[in-house]
């Protein structure tokens, strides 16, 4: 073993208690960082997936301006043939056409204003999780039946159950009066009150008939294989529809601008906290290394008088820190990953989390996932900051004068 390496290692254990305390600070913050970062990344992923899987999808083909105003006449003409063509072109069935209208839903006893989606019954289950959340009855099946699927709160408020009839009143794309009587085929429960209270789905062909859409709809929803594949897919879809007149392709960030911003806001406050933690650990290391340099002044004077270069002494101190930091990194990463994996199996919840989680489309129990990135990123930053903190003690050595140094005790 290299002599400097051996020296550094031995110096570290001259004061085992101090070394362990300093390493303890690193391990403590590393465990916390690994756990928190894994939890955060996991939650962001879930939040994005859960939100997008409800209705938004990864990409939507729309008329320009539709995303902001959602006006009835901002249509995608011939929406079903377009969706069919895109499905063929991209060889994917995770593409579905939709229409959306506002209407008044009335039962014998009650009336509520709701949003009505016209969907393609065969393809909607591939782009949205609502069809999978049917609690009673069945999802839509026939493409042009006068069937409707409604949320559980709406069903309760309208006092209808599967098999009952609902009257829909609204206005068609040309402003004319639109009305229809539909049969409740199924009731879904998403757990998000807003959705369960305000949303109904009917077959797209029926929708086009009721609202005089003349073959048009409002959006083609596209799911990409993964979030990372979205930008590339967007470019390809844009190319594919360039001949179809005035249409735009919006990605999920444009459709749900709050989502990314919320994650950014949450991340910045989290990084502030992590930053503070790292700085505190760095101070702890600075203090330890400074002490260890000061108490060895005499000894350093001796070795310098014997011909050791100050630069080499500085490297020795840095090496000591690096060893200590490595110890903290390894122990912290292992303990942090172990904690994360354990909670990943058991699940993690805190009181009040269910109410909070529902606001962000999250389940009440979180299963954090430890990945290589989320395990190493925190400890690595801690390690680097510790090295940085030992620069000052190491640098002080350059000004050390052998004779004076030997006189100190």
């Amino acid at each position: 073993m290299n002599i400097t390496l051996r020296l550094a290692w031995r110096n570290l254990w001259r004061q085992p208690r101090r070394t362990w305390l300093t390493t303890g600070a690193m391990v403590f913050s590393n465990v916390l960082l690994v756990f928190m970062i894994s939890l955060q990344f996991g939650m962001y992923g879930l939040m994005i997936d859960n939100t997008l899987q409800v209705f938004t999808g990864h990409l939507q083909v729309q008329a320009p301006g539709y995303k902001d105003d959602q006006k009835m006449r901002q249509v995608v003409p011939d929406v079903r043939p377009l969706a069919e063509r895109l499905r063929e072109e991209f060889d994917s069935d995770r593409i579905a056409a939709r229409g959306w209208a506002f209407g008044l839903a009335s039962s014998a006893e009650r009336s509520y204003g709701i949003g009505i989606y016209g969907v393609e019954p065969e393809f909607e289950p591939k782009v949205s999780n609502i069809p999978g959340l049917i609690e009673e009855g069945r999802y839509l099946d026939e493409p042009s039946a006068y069937d409707i699927v409604i949320g559980s709160v709406l069903a309760r408020n309208l006092r209808v159950s599967v098999g009952d009839e609902i009257t829909i009143l609204g206005s068609g794309v040309d402003g004319s009066f639109a009305a229809a009587v539909l049969n409740v085929a199924g009731i879904f429960r998403s757990g998000v009150k807003e959705i369960d209270r305000n949303i109904a789905e009917i077959p797209l062909a029926t929708f086009q008939e009721i609202f005089f859409m003349n073959g048009a709809g409002h959006q083609v929803v596209i799911m990409a294989p993964s979030l990372g594949a979205v930008p590339e897919l967007q470019a390809r879809v844009e190319a594919a529809i360039s001949g179809d007149g005035d249409l735009v392709v919006q990605d999920w960030d444009a459709l749900q601008p709050g989502l990314k911003q919320m994650i950014q806001a949450d991340m910045s406050s989290a990084f502030f906290m992590y930053g503070i933690l790292v700085i505190l650990v760095a101070f702890s290391v600075l203090n330890t290394q400074l002490m260890s340099v000061l108490e060895r002044t005499h000894e350093f004077g001796v070795v310098m008088a014997l011909g050791m270069k100050p630069g080499r002494l500085g490297r020795l101190v840095m090496l000591e820190t690096a060893m200590m930091g490595m110890l903290g990194l390894v122990l912290g990463a292992i303990a942090g990953a172990a904690l994360t994996i354990w909670l990943g199996i058991r699940g993690y919840t805190i009181p009040g989390m269910e109410e909070m989680a529902a606001q962000f489309n999250l389940p009440g129990r979180i299963y954090p996932q430890a990945t290589v990135l989320s395990t190493l990123i925190g400890p690595t930053v801690v390690f680097l900051f510790c090295l940085l903190a030992s620069v000052y003690p190491a640098w002080r050595l350059r000004r050390l004068h052998p004779v004076e140094a030997m006189r100190t005790h």
Binding site: Q15, R17, R18, L21, T22, A25, F28, S29, L32, D69, Q70, K71, M72, F102, G103, L104, S106, A108, E109, R110, S111, Y112, G113, I114, G115, R156, N157, G170, S171, G175, P257, G258, L259, K260, Q261, M262, Q264, A265, S269, F272, M273, I276, L277, I279, L280, F283, S284, L286, N287, T288, L290, M291, L294, E295, P351, G352, E355, M356, A358, Q359
Partner: protein, 410 residues
């Protein structure tokens, strides 16, 4: 007893014997203390804003409804009392403000579009004090009386409906007999709200006008009561509960908006965790510093013991040293926190993430709020935990064998 000042002075001098170490430790404590309080102030500010925005929409600290209303907000589930009865029960009961209102789902239609909204039939004079709408900032005018024939809608909704002040819209809802009740209104004002989605979802008409439209005489769907402090609504709750029978349901705002209620409750817990985490990160350094301080003067300690100083005094002196270190660090941290939060109190503009904050239910201005009780909490927690963390090194120092300690080669 006269020994205490001596110990204090000793501790003080020892602290500055190795001033570099003390200064580094002080910096760490100050930064930690500052971060505790700064972060707390930001979070407090955000939650406060969310709650004041949220309560102004719910609104009120305590509400009464028909028992079935909250689950099924239909006009059929309205209060069993008339306005005259409500006034008899609650006028002069000592609330800051109270009002009764008609709140039902409705459909609003312009010549272009229709949308679902919540219709609020209000008494504009009674609600002025606690409404989320600033009456004076309305484009056009706000409602003037309970039988105002106009309607006030959100600026954003007006854009969607392609309507404007002076134009007509049709409001459609349902009367208690389940007949469609509709009527044309002239838009007299467009309101703006801190949270954009409110502009989409609420429309205001006069209370009497709404009652006529719905054929409900002078009954309403809810009464709202505002007290002094939203954190403590119990006094209001008690007065209201005493004045009504069990044909109505009395709810605190925390029961109506469970998300906000939970936020408020978990806030304190979150802050305590944050303070403790920071402290733990600090504690390693603190204990380390004390261990060093003891270690480098083992011989002195031995000498003092040999000269007859009691172990308890050594213990006390190390503890005083630790408390001095923490106390000064905390003081600097407190001053730093005050100095950084004060200039920001007029608000931090975070509108780049406005839509994200809206998902939290927060608006795009952040007003940090440094509460005395949070500052006290942080300081007290650090001092108490610091005391316990210092016990071990101090105890060891006081247990030295005098002879061994004196002869120890430093």
């Amino acid at each position: 007893m006269r020994i205490a000042p001596v110990l204090g002075r000793l501790a003080w001098r020892y602290l500055w014997r190795n001033h570099r170490r003390t200064i580094i430790m002080l910096s760490a404590i100050s930064i930690g203390a500052w971060a505790m309080m700064f972060m707390t102030a930001l979070t407090r500010g955000m939650v406060d804003q969310m709650i004041s925005d949220g309560i102004s929409v719910i609104p009120g600290h305590v509400q009464i409804h028909h028992p079935g209303y909250l689950d099924d907000p239909s006009i059929a589930n309205r209060l069993p009392y008339t306005d005259a009865e409500l006034a008899r029960r609650f006028d002069g009961a000592g609330f800051v403000a109270w009002a009764s209102r008609v709140r039902v789902p409705a459909v609003i239609t312009s010549e272009r579009e229709s949308r679902g909204v919540t219709l609020l039939g209000i008494d504009p004079a009674a609600e002025r004090a606690f409404s989320f709408v600033d009456y004076d900032a309305v484009d056009g005018r706000f409602l003037e009386s309970v039988d105002d024939s106009g309607i006030v809608i959100g600026a954003k909704l007006a854009g969607t409906l392609e309507t404007e002040v002076g134009k007509r819209v049709v409001l459609m809802t349902q009367d208690p007999e389940n007949e469609i009740a509709d009527r044309g209104f002239r838009v007299v004002g467009l309101f703006h709200a801190n949270i954009e989605s409110y502009e989409d979802s609420f429309v205001f008409v006069g209370k009497r006008t709404a009652q006529d439209l719905l054929h409900i005489g002078d009954t309403t769907t809810e009464a709202v009561f505002v007290g002094d402090d939203y954190r403590n609504v119990e006094p209001v709750y008690d007065i209201v509960s005493a004045a009504v029978d069990d044909t109505v349901r009395v709810s605190r705002w925390t029961e109506i908006d469970t998300y906000l209620g939970t936020m408020l409750k978990t806030m304190d817990g979150f802050m305590l965790i944050w303070v403790v985490v920071i402290f733990l990160a600090l504690s390693f350094g603190l204990v380390n510093t004390l261990v060093m301080a003891v270690f480098e003067r083992v011989r002195e300690i031995g000498l003092m013991l040999a000269l007859g100083m009691k172990p308890a005094m050594i213990l006390g002196q190390i503890l005083i040293e630790s408390m001095l270190l923490l106390g000064i660090g905390l003081l600097i941290g407190d001053v730093l926190a005050y100095a950084t939060v004060k200039p920001l109190e007029s608000g931090i503009d975070i509108s780049i993430v406005a839509q994200g904050m809206e998902m939290f239910g927060a608006s795009s201005m952040l007003y940090p709020a440094l509460y005395l009780k949070d500052v006290i909490l942080a300081n007290v927690v650090v001092l108490i935990l610091g005391f316990f963390a210092s016990l071990s090194p101090a105890w060891r120092a006081s247990r030295y064998e005098p002879v061994e300690a004196i002869t120890k080669v430093g």
